[in-house]
């Protein structure tokens, strides 16, 4: 907790506040840098510091932990910013490691007369192309139509689901899980044209 004192209090009044803290067994550190003197309550029964609000030198008490702070969350800067910086640093290290050990290569020269037996599509486009390939060549448009419908339904899902926030509908989860399984199957087991 941080005790905010009134601006312009003299040393004697400050000593009174510190003595009151000491009497309650609370260790406090004075921070004088800002316009108002602040006392950071670092240890001891800090909850009992609420009673110090009765003193006329004390302006406010700001909690730095506890259920209210947990509910409202910590500030982005510096708390989450430090986490983010650490994650980004780690990620960059992993990327450099991958760049060194698995460099993206350069394949054979183009031969337009001899197509490969199987076109090596990347993993992220195999599923939609394999899905379209499930339909005969003459009705491939039907496959694309299904993909259009799926994309539009996903985009407008918030408008399609009518349940309230306290009891969210379960069917989108179920459909999502089935779609994910289908997507994985087509990615690893599908055969795009």
């Amino acid at each position: 907790m941080i005790l905010v004192l009134k601006p312009g209090i003299d040393a004697e009044e400050l000593a009174e506040v510190m003595a009151e803290l000491q009497k309650r067994g609370i260790e406090g550190r004075l921070l004088k840098n800002g316009p108002k003197p602040l006392v950071h309550l670092v240890s001891g029964p800090t909850r009992s510091a609420r009673k110090l609000l009765k003193l006329e030198q004390v302006e406010a008490l700001v909690p730095t932990s506890g259920p209210r702070v947990r509910q409202s969350g910590r500030r982005f800067y510096p708390y989450h910013f430090v986490h983010l910086a650490a994650v980004c640093l780690l990620l960059t290290g992993v990327l450099v490691l991958f760049a060194g050990n698995f460099p993206p290569g350069l394949g054979d020269a183009i031969d337009p007369q001899h197509p490969p037996a199987e076109v090596p599509y990347s993993w992220f486009v195999r599923a939609p192309l394999a899905f379209v390939a499930l339909f005969p060549h003459s009705s491939a448009w039907l496959g694309w139509l299904c993909l259009y419908a799926l994309g539009l339904a996903a985009l407008f899902l918030p408008a399609l689901v009518r349940s309230n926030a306290s009891a969210p509908a379960r069917w989108p989860r179920l459909v999502g899980a089935l779609l994910l399984l289908g997507w994985l199957y087509l990615t690893f087991g599908g055969a795009p044209r």
Binding site: R74, R75, F76, L91, V96, A99, L106, D111, W144, P158
Partner: protein, 214 residues
């Protein structure tokens, strides 16, 4: 060091945003979105460096890629980071979308995150796909040839997309040039705009929560 609060304008609102408390329920979403943003910026930076040496012409493309990998200082790292960050951004975007679906936060204020997340996933996939074609080797040539044949059968826009990307009746030097333009000039701006919108909506949501608490 004393960190003073900026007094006016945009710097004050940015500083205020940076100092806003993040509710625990939003923490993971925010960190995930910022990691995606970091990867995107990394791709932009490495992409600019690669564009200094890359030549989008079928005759010189192989030499320019080999130059980047062998002769340019740290070229292999830059190209590797560009490639692997593109591979990493896709599962992260997909995970974010799946997380929104699983938590049911796609309604109300979260609906913008859902729609933008889906569009970002699509855009990142197209960026990664067009990027893989730029090496213009045997695999890339047949990937674009067969993929455009399939895209042609898509109703409404399929034929048009295939025609515009191919730049003629067959896959040729024009196709490579157009794929390069789409990859480096069109899609990054679209993805960047989506990222900015996502950040904007998130900031509005945080401000709404702050005012609600107040």
């Amino acid at each position: 060091m004393k960190l003073g609060l900026p007094e006016h304008g945009m710097s004050r609102s940015l500083w205020g945003l940076l100092r806003s408390p993040v509710p625990p329920a939003e923490r993971t979403d925010l960190l995930l979105a910022l990691v995606i943003l970091f990867l995107f910026l990394l791709q932009v930076a490495t992409g600019i460096l690669l564009a200094f040496f890359y030549q989008p012409s079928p005759v010189t493309v192989a030499d320019s890629v080999q130059l980047i990998m062998r002769d340019v200082d740290w070229g292999w790292v830059v190209r590797g980071i560009h490639h692997w960050s593109a591979q990493a951004i896709l599962p992260l975007c997909a995970f974010q979308v799946a997380r929104i679906l699983w938590r049911g936060t796609y309604r109300g204020q979260g609906s913008s995150s859902w729609s933008l997340g889906l569009l970002m996933l699509l855009c990142a996939t197209l960026l990664a796909y067009t990027g893989e074609l730029l090496v213009w080797d045997q695999a890339a040539f047949w990937r674009i040839t067969r993929a455009l044949e399939q895209v042609e059968s898509a109703p409404l826009v399929g034929n048009w997309i295939a025609h515009v990307l191919r730049g003629g009746d067959e896959v040729s030097a024009t196709t490579l040039s157009r794929v390069f333009s789409v990859h480096s000039l069109l899609l990054p701006w679209v993805l960047g705009a989506l990222v900015v919108f996502e950040g904007w909506f998130f900031a509005l949501r945080l401000r709404g929560l702050k005012e609600k608490r107040a």
